[in-house]
């Protein structure tokens, strides 16, 4: 790196281009890999429903799981319709939590 480059970078406070390349690649590959494996998304969905069903009565059919970009990051977005929250289920869940302490 020449002196001119160093000074220019300090003045502009610019990050080296490889850092940008790395960030962009990580995001695009996350999306590529996820998009390429819908069966993986299906597996995640089933397990998430399983866990949530322990506490609330959810509608498995209407559940949607997707990967969306928010700003320059990606997020796993789950939309899980709740059928009803049963008192008994909540009580049992709280008992379980207390036992776990």
């Amino acid at each position: 790196m020449s002196l001119v480059d160093i000074i220019a970078r300090i003045i502009k406070r610019e990050e080296p281009s490889k850092e940008k390349a790395k960030k962009r690649l990580k995001l695009v590959l996350m999306q590529d890999r996820a998009v390429l494996a819908p069966e993986i998304l299906g597996l995640i969905k089933d397990e998430v429903i399983g866990v949530i069903s322990k506490y609330v009565d959810v509608e498995g059919e209407g559940t949607e799981l997707s990967i969306e970009s928010i700003g320059d990051a990606y997020a796993l977005i789950a939309s899980i319709p709740i059928r009803e929250v049963k008192r008994a289920v909540v009580k049992e869940a709280m008992m379980r939590a207390r036992r776990g302490q």
Binding site: S2, K18, E19, A21, L29, D32, R33
Partner: protein, 264 residues
Amino acid sequence: MPGRVMVITSGKGGVGKTTAVANIGAGLALRGKRVVLVDADIGLRNLDVVLGLENRIVYDLVDVVEGTCRLKQALVKDKRIQELYLLPASQSRMKDAVRPEQMRALCEELRKDFDYVIVDSPAGIERGFQNAIAGADEAIVITTPDVSAVRDADRVIGLLEASSLSSHKLVINRVRMDMVRKGEMLDQEDVVEILAIELLGVVPEDEKVVISTNKGELVVTESGSAAGKEFMRIARRIDGEEVPIEEEREGFMDWLKGIFGRRG
């Protein structure tokens, strides 16, 4: 003992796949191994010109598969390196002239007679790629340190993981150390972190590759070539030798030139 069948592949074109096949293959042959290079890029024959053997082709891979000639008749022996052979691709036929099971049978036949069968895969992930990996048990993925090549390499690695190959390793080609030092090019650690794959070698950008290819010669036979040296080290690693992958260290003069911006 039957030989090893390796496919060299990349996804993206133009990253130096054919150069790597020729030089790694030649490197293994220089170590005294019996090596055959198979050009699986049917319709876009290239390996012959890189090896400087374009005038000696009589039959090609499609002729062998279709039974027009015997396998031995289609093999072209290298002029300079003992034990290095080429099975050329067909230039006139299209890639659907060969099926994966035919490639598998061909590789089985070749491994009886050679220590290494190295298949040069076409770019892309379609039929030609499927043919190229069909008979292989190991894969070498070539990439350059730029975003498009790395992305395509990731796709190829995904496909290789889903196939029956036992191993796949990475070669990063055309690395410019001057740019890496400035932080303007992904370095080997970045690429390995992103792709999560075992590294086999890091080949520096070297204009001697262009010059050698112009003449139909191989850079691996040149002692003064940085890329040639690394291709030889890769060949030794493949052949089971412990050769550390070192980051190219710059000399004092390079550092001085760098500071004063007179690099060229």
